[in-house]
């Protein structure tokens, strides 16, 4: 699309854009240098401050923080996915007495900040902060998973369900063996993207005093002294962002792979009356 928006730049436009780019790079670079110099004036780059990374204890704490982050995310994801599947089944149930209450619960969960749910579990049920973080993440993400899978089921051609019912499957069998497998595959990129969100949201555990990466940084700064806050924070932030970037790359890769397959025959639209087959 973007190439349609403008003519292929001629020599003059190219020169102007080159000069503009150079000025832009200089401005951004200047700001960065200014920031670095301000920090350097405060002695942030004093080798003594960075010497903390020679201590194995510091790395052990960082590793523990990463471990706690990944543990909360993994446990929450493993519980949230089946729960989301169940909520989705209830949400698209034929029985209005099941469907409508589920819908209300889902709307409620989706409209709520995750931190609030974590705090609620922590204070009301007086649990450990790990359980509070996992419970908050599970409650919120299972609602989102349910909505994503529901969107997938609804995007399937009607014939899938009709054919399933026509060969004598019960409504539930049809959902389980025909519709859900296709819906989940179709929505795989969105599901993985939501996993990235889940992983990012573990950082909210900081607020309910769960010992994840950012809290580990805080603990270290309290323990070693505030002058070490900066180096440790920057390293931890870089690790956090790197992990999230890696998982979102995975999501993009899955999406590309999915659409390549789709082009090879698994069409989104039924071709000549033959429904999309898997």
């Amino acid at each position: 699309m973007s190439s349609v928006l403008y003519d292929v730049p001629g020599p003059k436009a190219r020169r102007i854009s080159l000069i503009g780019s150079i000025i832009g790079v200089i401005v951004i670079g200047g700001l960065l240098v200014l920031a670095v110099m301000t920090l350097a004036q405060q002695g942030i780059f004093d080798p003594k401050r960075w010497a903390v990374f020679q201590l194995p204890e510091v790395w052990a704490l960082i590793a523990a923080g990463i471990g706690a982050t990944l543990a909360a995310a993994a446990v929450a994801a493993v519980i949230a996915f089946p729960l989301g599947l169940l909520l989705c089944l209830l949400r698209i149930s034929d029985n209005a007495w099941v469907r409508v209450p589920t819908r209300i619960v889902l709307e409620f969960l989706r409209g709520m900040p995750v931190v609030l749910m974590m705090l609620f579990v922590l204070l009301v049920f007086a649990t450990s902060s790990f359980i509070a973080v996992v419970a908050g993440l599970v409650l919120y993400n299972s609602a989102i998973f349910a909505e994503i899978i529901r969107a997938g089921v609804q995007s399937l051609p009607k014939g899938q369900r009709e054919a399933g019912l026509a060969i004598g499957l019960t409504s539930f069998q049809c959902r389980l063996t025909i519709e859900l497998p296709q819906a989940i595959r179709r929505m795989l990129p969105s599901l993985v993207a939501q996993l990235v969100v889940l992983l990012k949201d573990t950082s909210l555990g900081y607020i309910v005093a769960y010992g994840e990466l950012l809290r580990a940084v805080q603990v270290m700064a309290d323990f070693l002294g505030p002058q070490y806050l900066f180096p440790v924070f920057f390293v931890a932030a870089a690790i956090y962002i790197a992990i999230d970037l890696a998982v979102s790359r995975l999501a993009i890769w899955l999406e590309r792979r999915g659409s390549k397959r789709a082009a090879g025959g698994v069409a989104h639209v039924p071709v000549a009356g033959i429904p999309a087959a898997k």
């Binding site: 928006l5 403008y6 920090l39 409209g111 609030l116 950082s203 900081y206 932030a237 956090y240």
Partner: protein, 216 residues
Amino acid sequence: MDVIIENLPQYWDGFLRTLFLSVVSGIIALVFGTVLAAARVSPVAALRGFSMTYVEIVRNTPLTIAFFFAAVVLPRLGVTFQQFEVAAIIALSAYTSAFIAEAVRSGVNSVPVGQAEAARSIGMNFSQVLSLIILPQALRTVIPPLINILIALVKNSSVAGAFYVLELFGQGKQLANANGDAVMWVLVGVAFFYLLITIPLGYLASVVERKVAIAR
């Protein structure tokens, strides 16, 4: 239950502050996000690169780290402010604008190619094509996802409560500490006020979605 009614002034104060944070950050993020999206499709390679890098990094940054950066690191860099609300607004708008940029870009891609070709063939330049032809149509199709991003923004503003801002979540935390015997009702009250913003917005999104679907 009584605890909610007794502390209604605090709730109201927090509610207004949450609303304030969300509205100000929302407006800044909408403007900045649209500019980022425009940069992403512009003919200048440096602008494209900047926009792409910004969106990619910010989208993968946990919100708590963004807040930590705005509230703790920025003051050291010489960006000082009197109130922590400013830090919260910086963090929220910087974070949200990346998501808005992505949404607007997908909207730009959804406008039929013929629109841009027609605009160019009558002699419009890039900024005219974008501002007069493409963006008005793109923004219209992305209104439902934009509203969803704004709902997320309202919910994300709760993180500010952990960074010295007494918005709804911050007030709720204080009230929960003060009323140890009625923690559940205190937090139910907080939840109610959040739903007061998010559920109408969600309803609005679904209504707009239906209207736009008819138009196309």
